[in-house]
Amino acid sequence: MALDKNGIAQRIAQELQNGFYVNLGIGIPTLVANYIPQGIDVEFQSENGVLGMGPFPFEGEEDSDLINAGKQTITTMAGAVFFDSATSFSMIRGQHVQLTVLGAMEVAQNGDIANWKIPGKMVKGMGGAMDLVASAENIIVAMMHTNKKGESKILKKCSLPLTGVGCVTKVVTNLSVLEVVDGSFKLLERAPGVSIEEIKSATEGDLIIEGEIPEMKL
C-alpha cells in the first residue's frame, strides 16, 4: 500500500544521523521531526532564525515571538539559539547544515527541482528554498509520486520554473525511495506492498532497477 504523508516522513527520519544539523521544509518535511530514531541526537534549524527547534507548544503557551519558517508557533530545546537571517543563511550556504529535507512539485532525473511557481497560477515565492538547494550537499525531497490527476512528478525534465539545478540526491515518495545517479532515478526501496510495475507506471523519468528491490522497513 502506498504510504501517507506520515509514512514518508517516517522513512526519511531513518536518514538522520547522530550529530546532524537538519533543515526541514514546510509540509511533509516538518513531520520528520516526529520520527527521530532512538539514540540519535539531531538539531533542527529553521531559516527564520532558530537552531534547536522543539515541538509545538502546549495550548496557552504559544509565543508570537517564537515561530518556525512555516510561521507556526514552536518551542525550543535546551541549547537552542536565535540569530538573524544573514547568520541563518551563513549556516545554510556555508554548508554547516548536514541535511535538507524539502517538498517539490517536480523532480527531474538530473537532480533538478521545481517547487516555487506555477506560471500564471500560483506565485508564492521561493523563500529560502533556492539558497538551501544551491548549497546543501545532502538534499532529500519528500513528495507524492504523482499529482492529483495521477500524472508523474518524477520526470525526465522539469516543466515548471526551477528552484535549483542538479542538486537533489534522494527522493522519498508515497511509493518508493529513489536515488539520483548519473542522470537517472535508481530504485532503492518500494513502499510496503507496492509492486515494481506500479512504480514504473507512475514514473516518467528513467528508472534503474537492479536486482531485488526491498520493501521499506517502517
Binding site: 529553521s46 531559516e47 527564520n48 532564525g49 532558530v50 515541538p55 509545538f56 507548544p57 502546549f58 495550548e59 503557551e61 504559544e62 509565543d63 508570537s64 515571538d65 517564537l66 515561530i67 518556525n68 519558517a69 512555516g70 510561521k71 507556526q72 508557533t73 514552536i74 536565535f82 540569530f83 538573524d84 537571517s85 544573514a86 541563518s88 543563511f89 545554510i92 550556504r93 533538478d112 511557481k117 500564471g120 506565485v123 508564492k124 515565492g125 521561493m126 523563500g127 529560502g128 528554498a129 533556492m130 539558497d131 544551491a134 548549497s135 520554473p161 526551477l162 528552484t163 535549483g164 539545478v165 542538479g166
Partner: protein
C-alpha cells in the same frame, strides 16, 4: 551619549514621501514594525517600493498599505497568505521582484556594510539568474547579486535604549538587524525603551550607530499567523 529618541511615531516617520524605497523588518507577522506601518498607512504616501521578506496578510502588516494601494513594488522572498497581494500582482497593478531569502538577507547586510555586490550559488540556473553575471569559484557557478539600501528602514525590537541600541526577542530578530544597517534613516520601535546604560553592552544585538530614531511603541497586537499547539497527555 547621542540621544536618538523621538516622542511619537509621527515624529519618527517625518520625511517619508511618495516614491521612496523602504525596508521593513519581520518574518511573516513576527517582528514587524506595527506602529510604523500604521502611521505610514495613515500618512497616505504612495508609489512606494517596499523591501520586506513577506507582504503581511490581508488586514495586517504590509497588507494595510497594499489595501490602500500605497505600494508600487514589492521586493520579497515569499508572498503567500495574502489574497489582495495575489490579485494586485496577477492583474499587473503591483510590480513584484522575488529573490531567494538568503540573498535578500545578504543584500541588505551588504548594503549596510559597504559591500556593493557579492557572488552566491543561490538561484543559479533559475529565473533569478537572468541578466546576472555568472562566475565559477571552486568549480561551482555563482551569480552576482547587488547590495540593497533604502531611504528609510523600519525595524522593531523588544528592548532598546535612548542611544538606539537594540535587543530582539526570539525569532522576531530575523531581518531587523540587517535592515537597520541598510537604511539611510533607520527608525526603530521598541516594546520597552530604557535609559542608556541599562542594557548590558555585551548583550546588544544591533548597535545604536545603525539607528537614527527610536521610540516607545504601543498597543502591540503581535498577531500569530499559524497557531499550532500540541495537546497535553
Amino acid at each position: 551619549m547621542i540621544n536618538k529618541v523621538v516622542n511619537s511615531v509621527e515624529e519618527a516617520i517625518e520625511g517619508v514621501a511618495d516614491d521612496m524605497t523602504f525596508m521593513l523588518g519581520g518574518f511573516g507577522l513576527c517582528g514587524i514594525p506595527e506602529n510604523s506601518i500604521g502611521a505610514l498607512s495613515q500618512s497616505g504616501i504612495k508609489g512606494l517600493t517596499c523591501i520586506s521578506n513577506n507582504a503581511g496578510v490581508d488586514d495586517f502588516g504590509l497588507g494595510l498599505l497594499l489595501q490602500k494601494r500605497q505600494i508600487k513594488k514589492m521586493i520579497s522572498s515569499y508572498v503567500g497568505e495574502n489574497a489582495e497581494f495575489e490579485r494586485q500582482m496577477l492583474s499587473g497593478e503591483l510590480e513584484v521582484e522575488l529573490i531567494p531569502q538568503g540573498s535578500l538577507a545578504e543584500r541588505c547586510r551588504a548594503g549596510g556594510a559597504g559591500i556593493p555586490a557579492f557572488f552566491t550559488p543561490a538561484g543559479y540556473g533559475t529565473e533569478v539568474a537572468k541578466g546576472k553575471e555568472v562566475r565559477e569559484f571552486n568549480g561551482k557557478p555563482h551569480i552576482l547579486e547587488s547590495a540593497l539600501t533604502a531611504d528609510f528602514a523600519f525595524v522593531k525590537a523588544w528592548k532598546g535604549d535612548t542611544a538606539g541600541n537594540l535587543i530582539f526577542k526570539g525569532t522576531a530578530r530575523n531581518f531587523n538587524p540587517m535592515m537597520a544597517m541598510a537604511g539611510k534613516i533607520t527608525v526603530a520601535e521598541v516594546e520597552e525603551l530604557v535609559p542608556a546604560g541599562e542594557l548590558d553592552p555585551a548583550q546588544i544585538h544591533t548597535p545604536g550607530i545603525f539607528v537614527q530614531r527610536i521610540f516607545q511603541g504601543k498597543d502591540y497586537e503581535k498577531r500569530i499567523e499559524q497557531r499550532t499547539v500540541r495537546t497535553r497527555e
